[in-house]
């Protein structure tokens, strides 16, 4: 019943060969992961080494300047914060409300199908198209100007699909029994949503909002398209004033610049001294987006760990 020795040897050789191929593929797989890792490392190292001389406190408190060594990112980061404020104020209520409607209220209906397909499609529209939308509609039809409100609104529309999808996923993971218990106690649909569904899905929704904002803060193309100026050496008017009503919304109409625009502006200058500024600002921008992503990942991790239905 035993095979001839040469056949056994042949089978062993075959197995060894196939196992070697397995091993080779594993190494290639690890190599590819390492390439991705090295790219991130190289990108970071490049930014920090090139921009090293620019990391000084004044970099954050100085306006852009014709002299590279004295140029700072004050107007850029203030602009980014202001634009993100508008973006969040628009995208969060709209996105969360749309997500709630789609998960909790939407009937099985062709209108629902259209809205779903539409949101999927919007998620794939290139960001520069949103810039054209803003240029044609917000700037020239609605007359909102090349201002903070236009930029904030544009980026809000851009991240709307992200917020909606995150809201829906967070709501979908809440078991049906929670709703049944609320209805059983006589709660209406909105009471159920407001007192149970929303609080329980909050970490998931928050994760989506942060990821959306981290994408918005790095977006350059739509903001260039609406025609944002690149040399801004002043700040928008303060939102808080000394006199009643203490709040001032003039800043919404102010011209502005944001971090990515400032980086693009410095990168596209031929003078290498400005490239150092671009690298330093780039490192700060990447650090900001990474910090936001890290918060989102941490939230998601906590969410998975703590909640067991």
């Amino acid at each position: 019943m035993s095979l001839p020795a040469e056949e056994i040897a042949a089978i062993r050789a075959n197995i060894a060969r196939r196992k070697t191929r397995d091993l080779i593929f594993t190494s290639i797989g690890i190599l590819c992961l390492v390439i991705a890792l090295l790219t991130i490392a190289a990108l970071f190292a490049d930014m920090i080494i090139t921009g090293w001389d620019r990391f000084r406190p004044g970099f954050f408190t100085d306006f852009p300047s014709r002299r590279a060594a004295q140029a700072g990112i004050l107007s850029a980061w203030v602009g980014s914060v202001a634009v993100m404020g508008v973006t969040a104020a628009v995208a969060v209520p709209l996105g969360v409300a749309a997500g709630i409607w789609l998960e909790e209220y939407a009937p099985r209906h062709w209108i629902t199908d259209i809205i779903e397909i539409n949101i999927n499609n919007l998620a794939g529209v290139p960001s520069i198209i949103y810039g054209l939308l803003a240029l044609g509609l917000f700037v020239y039809t609605f007359g909102l100007g090349q201002s903070i409100q236009t930029a904030g609104l544009t980026l809000a529309l851009l991240i709307l699909p992200v917020v909606i999808v995150a809201t829906r996923e967070a709501i979908r993971s809440i078991p049906q029994m929670i709703r049944e218990a609320a209805y059983g106690l006589g709660a209406t649909k909105w009471q159920t949503v407001k007192d149970h569904i929303l609080p329980y899905s909050l970490p998931g929704i928050l994760t989506g909002i942060i990821i959306g904002l981290s994408r918005a803060i790095g977006e350059t193309a739509p903001i260039i398209t609406i025609g944002a100026l690149t040399f801004i050496a002043f700040l928008p008017p303060s939102p808080i004033t000394d006199t009643a009503p203490f709040l001032n919304f003039e800043w919404l109409q102010a011209p502005f610049t944001v971090m990515p625009i400032q980086i693009f502006n410095w990168t596209s200058r031929p003078d290498a001294a400005f490239h150092q500024n671009a690298a330093a600002a780039g490192a700060i921008l990447v650090a900001m987006t990474l910090a936001m992503n890290a918060i989102a990942i941490w939230l998601r991790y906590r969410l998975r760990k703590n909640i067991k239905w």
């Binding site: 593929f25 490049d46 749309a98 939308l133 193309a221 398209t225 690298a279 921008l285």
Partner: protein, 304 residues
């Protein structure tokens, strides 16, 4: 007694009205997403129609020069499309092999701990702002490539495409990995029982079973490459050249829009309308790719 009952009924009725109002508000929020799409279509069509009243569609599709801002204006979209096509091709030559290998490795070979670490890192890669990738392509990757190819110019589709490819790797790898992990374990067990190794199982059983999901990943990657703007605007130069050689600088549809937006074009000029015609072309391409991608993704989901 009746007063008490009717008060309760009144409260119920007002509760009912409130519910209705809230539902209407939530629906309005969802419907706004449709308005966004309609707004995009309206703006692109309106301005493009003005453009095509000056330039014939045939010239737009067949002219081999793109000089919209010169006195001798030519509007051959093929010039911009060639830049878009070549840079996307370079990006895909990087993203598809690397992304697929990473996906197979993570889905079929890697220990769960490796996967837990690798996935967030890949997410980081896709979260880096594209303007930073552009800086990296122009001032790090291009000089690096010039070591190997001394004739490479300072701006080239090649270095922009390579960086774009690395940026797209996470899109390809995460969707492909999901598709492969959705393949039922019984198929793998059958393959192992026949004496196949992990590589044979991955390549001959899991990969073919997940092919429509993987194809969807590739197509979404293509859509992303075609729509990418800042890396190209920074590192590929903005000269409109009809090129088939990635080692040359060229403008793409997206970088042309950026270039025009950076200048001061008066609202209503032909140059202003040009960017909407270019945008419409871009939108049509990404729409086709996205629909194809979602269709493929949905198909494989229904299978298991």
């Amino acid at each position: 007694m009746t007063g008490h009952v009717s008060a309760r009924l009144a409260r119920r009725a007002s509760r009912h009205v409130k519910e209705r109002v809230i539902e209407a508000i939530l629906f309005a929020a969802a419907a706004i997403s449709v308005l966004v799409t309609l707004g995009i279509v309206y703006v692109l069509l309106k301005e493009s129609l003005v453009f095509f009243s000056h330039v014939s569609v045939i010239d737009f599709l067949t002219d081999t020069q793109w000089t919209p801002l010169f006195d001798d204006a030519h509007f051959g979209i093929m010039v911009l499309l060639s830049g878009t096509a070549i840079s996307s091709l370079v990006a895909l030559l990087v993203a598809i092999p690397v992304g697929t290998i990473i996906a197979i490795y993570l889905a079929e070979f890697a220990a769960p701990q490796v996967r837990e670490i690798a996935k967030p890192i890949l997410e980081v890669l896709s979260g880096i702002p594209t303007v930073v990738f552009g800086f990296f392509a122009l001032l790090f990757v291009t000089p690096l490539l010039q070591w190997f190819i001394p004739s490479l110019p300072g701006f080239s589709l090649l270095s922009a495409g390579i960086v774009m490819g690395i940026m797209i790797v996470p899109i390809v790898s995460s969707i492909s990995e999901d598709a492969m992990r959705a393949v039922p374990m019984s198929l793998r067990e059958g393959s192992y029982a026949m004496g196949a190794t992990r590589l044979q199982t991955a390549l001959r059983v899991v990969f073919p079973a997940a092919i429509s999901g993987i194809a969807a990943a590739y197509i979404l990657g293509i859509a992303r490459a075609v729509g990418e703007t800042m890396i190209l605007a920074i590192a590929a130069g903005m000269q409109p050249n009809l090129v088939w050689n990635p080692m040359e600088p060229a403008a793409t549809i997206t970088s042309f829009i950026v270039q025009v937006a950076l200048g001061d074009l008066p609202h209503g000029s032909v140059g202003y309308n040009t960017i909407f015609a270019a945008g419409l072309t871009l939108m049509l391409f990404t729409l086709v790719f996205n629909l194809l991608g979602f269709w493929l993704q949905r198909r494989y989901r229904e299978k298991y």
